[in-house]
Symmetry: C2
Subunit: 252 residues, 2 copies
Amino acid sequence: MAGRHGQGDAAGDQGRSGAKAPGLDFPRPLTTVDIVIFTIRQEALQVLLVRRGSGPGDPFPGTFALPGGFVDIARDRDLEACARRKLAEKTGVVSPYLEQLGSWGSADRDPRGWSATHAYFALIPGSAVEAALAADVQWFPLEGTGVTPKLAFDHAEILQAAVQRLRNKVEYTSLPAYLMPKEFTLPELQRTYEIVLDRALEKSAFRTRMLSADLIEPIAKMRKGPNRPAQLYRLKKTAAPVYFARTFNAPE
Amino acid sequence: MAGRHGQGDAAGDQGRSGAKAPGLDFPRPLTTVDIVIFTIRQEALQVLLVRRGSGPGDPFPGTFALPGGFVDIARDRDLEACARRKLAEKTGVVSPYLEQLGSWGSADRDPRGWSATHAYFALIPGSAVEAALAADVQWFPLEGTGVTPKLAFDHAEILQAAVQRLRNKVEYTSLPAYLMPKEFTLPELQRTYEIVLDRALEKSAFRTRMLSADLIEPIAKMRKGPNRPAQLYRLKKTAAPVYFARTFNAPE
DNA sequence: CAAACTTAGTTGTACTGTCCAACTTACTTA
DNA sequence: TAAGTAAGTTGGACAGTACAACTAAGTTTG
């Protein structure tokens, strides 16, 4: 690369140019998008993983990885559209919650060369998923922090970052609401919080907080069970996640 | 693209391959890194911007942009190293705080083609900066939410996201401590919080919170002025940002 | 059909930390 | 010495969680 303050170099190289093809004199990294898809199944937080193919040249054949793949610049208008496409392909679901997680790029994360992945994380209800799953994907429960299979690339690191981000945000947001089916009771919502946080919460404080937030509304139905029936709620149309002013417990 | 469940397609296209050059049959997006560098100067939050060159083929010639540029796969081991390099080139400073902000990628954000940028944001003390600035860069105060110059690419959007993230985190973290010089008083720290948040804070609550956090320690010196001298503090060696269990005010 | 059991939901007291305002302290300047 | 100003403290009101005991409403069991 030329000198630091050369004129074609202004704006930090983005303006750098050969005579004709500006920027193209830099070899381009491989660019992918990966998604960490969470759900609640069997009273546990679970992630969707894909078994990798074993064609010639495929790295990490036969191992599991996060769903994702190369950005297709012909089809994907932007990164988020690419993420939504891959999500739909694997689950058949339009995610009620999709957030960018971060990006990971380095010379050695992919044996095929310098590559960068844009990671997203999605929350989907456990209920509507079972049906439309693609053939090569599978749910895995997250016990504690480790997952059962070893993951391809640096996906273990990405997954861990996603879990950490999720746990962190669950402390002070309404994100778990996106893991619930259309209708749910307050104890069910609390159980979802507890599963994600892996920690028991106070019933009365939980109810006070949820009911005073502009988040859910009761419907004219009860959940019948072997015991006292519970009031059913649904998410209000205001889909925006709620941020609470405190965490449930002082962290630490 | 081939069928959804084809075998070379497993693991979401990352395993897709021609006979020899897997992944290379996808045209690659341009890949850049941009940094939003904040400091406090003249009682205001300011951002560092770069004037773009006007060589042939340079997009947005003469306008201002965030410092950044193409990833150099020969020099940059990973994205963060690339960000640190660009930061050092423009400011001569090793940032006390650097965080990934997110990534922006689309077909039309750069006239040269499908491009994706990995954005970082950095906090540096106002003091030590003035000296080593590169020639083509300049500080701009953020008044309210709009910046003075129109920015190249989608950098206005990225900058806005950075400000939002910073303001958000300042509500419940110790991030402003990274904007302070080595030694500072509690009222000075509070003023920094207030500048970033653009809102007055309660003195006693602020002091209680800062002093009970494991964040700063008093040194055997006072800041002398026209009035009562103030105790000087410094950051503890534990560089990790502190997360508080509450925000200062209930948002809204 | 009443008693035992289980989960839903409420109530009340203690405690923690912010909010608000008044106060004391320490220094400079008139 | 008095006035002024910013640093730092103190105390009461208030909000929301922590903890624990309570009531409510259904099912199952004897």
